[in-house]
Symmetry: C2
Subunit: 323 residues, 2 copies
């Protein structure tokens, strides 16, 4: 009788580090490791390095675990094709058929999607969205990612690229975005966005602030939270502006998909009331009457866990279960 | 052997008229009629009047047709509950359990949704979206309605009220909307919206225009099309502004759901290039690189048909088929 425990591999590919974990159906992680993504100029040697870790794990846990599949979350990961396509923050250029490479090396079912979609699935399978059929996940990092769940399924859209809320227009002719457009939501609501707001306020206001002695390139978003907690007026105002912008835009997203809840994940989501209070207030003020008081904005239940690896694991569990 | 043809009843409830039709699986209509909605202060007597028409139809077509169900499209119709809820343009106040009333009177399966969702299903079942899994329907009437289709299914959201694109914010602190908010898309993009734009232009510009002799309450949106065709500079500019506003907002919707196509239906959609050209241009200009050149904006294939009745019929066919 096979008494080994069914587990899957979750892989979170980031610009600098790639994290790998082994998780069971309930989200318990039995193994965690990471490698430096940008050491590997050839995607095949990158996959070889991961393969080695997997072989190591398997041979030292013979009979204990049974590997069932591989889930991958990656920037610009396309669920339909299994490709990573033109990811500006990765070392590999163009279109890389990662799902296929992993599949041929590891001989296991592989599913791949972008990091925000993986986070949404993580919340659905292991987090606070376990009984929700319609919700939204917003990941606040350097940029703003999003995963939409409708009728119990991820929204991939016609081409696999749905859920780019970081690039809806928040301010007409506003800040220049990395994508080339102006006024995109993530230029205001993200670690980079709130930092830009701090510097705008240093110019427009005359309040004393700890930030008057810090250069733009030296400022970390976490310092803005610390300063707000200490009563720094620029930091407090920057959070108000950021939360308001987020809430206002979320009201438009509610008009699209009417979710039960909106989850926030990432650095800024750790800022508690500073971001949640103005976001909730602005969303309510901008909602149609029929939606008012219905939609929760909540911190992800996986806020202090490795949601990216768990999300990737959840993705492949989902696939295996739907087979 | 029963040789009768399976058909369903499609009902489009409007503020003034209610249209009723009998359609087969391919969308052929065998019967069409209408009654005056606002004659019936009691919803029960309204349903009785429809019941009478159905009985009449059935008895004069004995053995020819077999009625399988009833689909209803109505303003503020909620698919989940089968209720019409607080519809400002209907004579009935509050929450009316229409699906239940129809079901008990006609003894047939009943499905109900709002008019724009019905139009989307109509396009999916009988129109140009027959092989599409992800698309958007925009209905341009007095207001702007929308139906979103994702992964092959209508997006109803958590509460049944998803798809209120008429009320996303198109202009910060813009025009006052009937919903109480300011700057809603439908205050710019709808029959009423383009009329408001004409009057704004009469104030801001000095061009001669046929509209300088027409009072606000006398202007019909169709006259703006006629004037544009004749070269009226105010009419031409009004279409440019309307199309641009629509296209810009559609770019944000694309970032949400990445549809294969966007269909326009209703009076304004009959204005051809005047609305489609600026809408396409503005959408493309505001799309993220990955979406550019991929998404079609098309007139509904049912533009000259009774999409509302056909959509309602398609809704119930869909339900019957998924059983």
């Amino acid at each position: 009788m096979d008494t080994s425990k069914d587990v899957v591999i979750g892989i979170d590919i980031g610009g600098t580090f790639t994290k790998i974990g082994v998780a069971d159906r309930s989200g318990t992680l039995y193994y965690e490791n990471s490698i430096k993504t940008d050491l590997y100029e050839d995607p095949n040697s990158f996959v070889d390095a991961i393969h080695e870790l997997v072989v190591e794990f398997s041979s030292s846990n013979k009979g204990v675990f049974s590997l069932k599949g591989v889930g991958i979350g990656a920037p610009n990961g396309n669920y339909y094709t299994g490709h990573i396509e033109f990811a500006p923050n990765l070392v590999w250029r163009g279109v890389i058929p990662f799902a296929q490479i992993f599949n041929s090396k590891l001989n296991l079912p592989v599913a791949l999607t972008n990091d925000a979609n993986a986070a949404a699935i993580g919340e659905m399978v292991f987090g606070a969205a376990q009984h929700m059929k319609n919700f939204l996940m917003i990941t606040l990092g350097t940029g703003l990612g999003s995963g939409l769940v409708v009728n119990g399924g991820l929204v991939y859209g016609h081409d696999g690229f749905a859920g780019e809320l970081g690039h809806v227009c928040a301010v007409e002719n506003g800040r220049l975005c990395g994508c080339g457009k102006r006024g995109c939501l993530e230029t205001y609501v993200s670690a980079t966005g709130i930092k830009r707001t701090v510097f705008e306020l240093l110019a427009s206001e005359t309040h004393p602030s700890v930030f008057r002695s810090i250069a733009f390139k030296d400022l970390e978003a976490s310092q803005i939270y610390d300063a707000a907690e200490k009563g720094d007026p620029i930091a407090i105002k920057a959070f108000k502006i950021t939360g308001k912008m987020l809430g206002k835009t979320l009201a438009d997203t509610v008009a699209h998909i009417s979710p039960q809840a909106i989850f926030l994940f990432g650095g800024l989501a750790l800022s508690g009331k500073w971001i949640f209070d103005p976001a909730k207030k602005a969303m309510e003020e901008n909602l149609l009457e029929i939606f008012k008081g219905k939609i929760k904005i909540l911190p992800s239940a996986l806020l202090n866990k490795n949601i990216a690896v768990l999300g990737a694991a959840a993705l492949i569990w989902n696939e295996l279960d739907s087979k």
